[in-house]
Symmetry: C2
Subunit: 219 residues, 2 copies
């Protein structure tokens, strides 16, 4: 297992609820965290307040020197943003937590990519030397950083990526967030199934009346 | 809740592992069960042996007089077969357990329909007066009829369909098979998410080395 001590700086791309929630959680764990934004000066006071002491910078400034870059961008912008970062992501572990949701035709969302491809694979192709790992996109922001808040036991989170050491490094970060059932699904094509979970998640949220739920793989 | 006593005869379309497993389970529960086949005379001895006392007939003969028709056909043939049955399915509860898997390009399978449509909705459109309910396609045949064989507790099975009474009738059949966590997801568009679970299921089967697993929705 790779030494988590090799991770010092984490850049989180995206200033939405997922980005701010993850940034604060990683900061609480003791990492140096910086949030990347398209326009840091345009960030409203509420978002900045939610981030506390966490710094905000332009995307390219945020990722410079980061050991892990978290993609918490809206799915429709993720490929464009990571592509714009060019070789800044070479060798960097990119934790992709985004979902390729198309909300342009209202609710429920449909998927921008599916079945024979995935957002995570698009990101990997856009940044061939990044070490992309898909994870955490299967739960809402609150559950991502507090998995013990769901039910009375351990629920499951998946990791998938072509680089086994990157998967293990992300699994270590997940363990620090409180996840105990981290299921390694192997190479990045598993992201197809992981992302296609979302339509069922959306329906479950509507039926259950809450986003505070998750699946457990019982075997 | 509709009276399960109104269900006397169940027709199971399909002589594969799912069809024969469900047919035997419903027969054990005391229903009059008949299996529908494209060519009943071509059924090999092994399949016929697996069916025990359960009769096999041509599709149209099997569904005549049935209160519930189970679609356990290969996904690529389901719409064609139910379409051919015309008004024989009027008012009948059609329990669609099939998955729209495309295995023509090898493993893993891709999906023949997804995201903005589903196999269950295609079947409903082909037979507008049938009462289509999607369920059970999220687990393998052995788990369908013996849900207690997975893990040490209750795992989840979904039902979706446009007719609430049909969903409740199917939920009653599932309870008889041993299911205790039957989650009603509402109208038939929920089948999109339920069917898009399959690619993740296939990867999990590969990683876990068994099909004896299921998800539990923890809330």
């Amino acid at each position: 297992m790779p030494d988590q001590a090799t991770v010092h700086r984490i850049a989180v791309l995206g200033t939405g609820r997922v980005g701010t929630t993850l940034a604060r959680a990683f900061a609480r764990s003791g990492y140096e965290v910086i949030v990347g934004s398209r326009d840091p000066d345009a960030l409203d006071e509420e978002r900045r307040g939610q981030l506390g002491e966490v710094a905000v910078a332009a995307f390219s400034e945020a990722v410079a020197g980061a050991d892990v870059v978290v993609d918490a961008l809206p799915g429709e912008h993720a490929v464009e943003v990571v592509s714009s970062l060019g070789d800044l992501l070479d060798g960097v572990v990119v934790l992709d937590v985004a979902n390729p949701l198309d909300t342009s035709r209202g609710m429920p969302p449909t998927l921008l990519v599916k079945d024979t491809d995935s957002l995570a694979e698009q990101i990997q192709r856009a940044c061939p030397r990044a070490r992309v790992v898909k994870s955490l996109n299967t739960v809402n922001a609150a559950v991502m950083v507090d998995p013990g808040s769901v039910g009375d036991g351990d629920t499951t989170v998946f990791v998938a990526g072509d680089d086994p050491a990157a998967r293990e490094l992300v699994a270590g970060l997940l363990t620090e967030l409180g996840w105990r059932d981290v299921l390694d699904l192997g190479d990045l094509t598993a992201a197809r199934g992981i992302e296609m979970w979302l339509p069922l998640w959306v329906r479950l949220m509507q039926i259950l009346g809450t986003a505070q739920f998750n699946l457990r793989i019982v075997r």
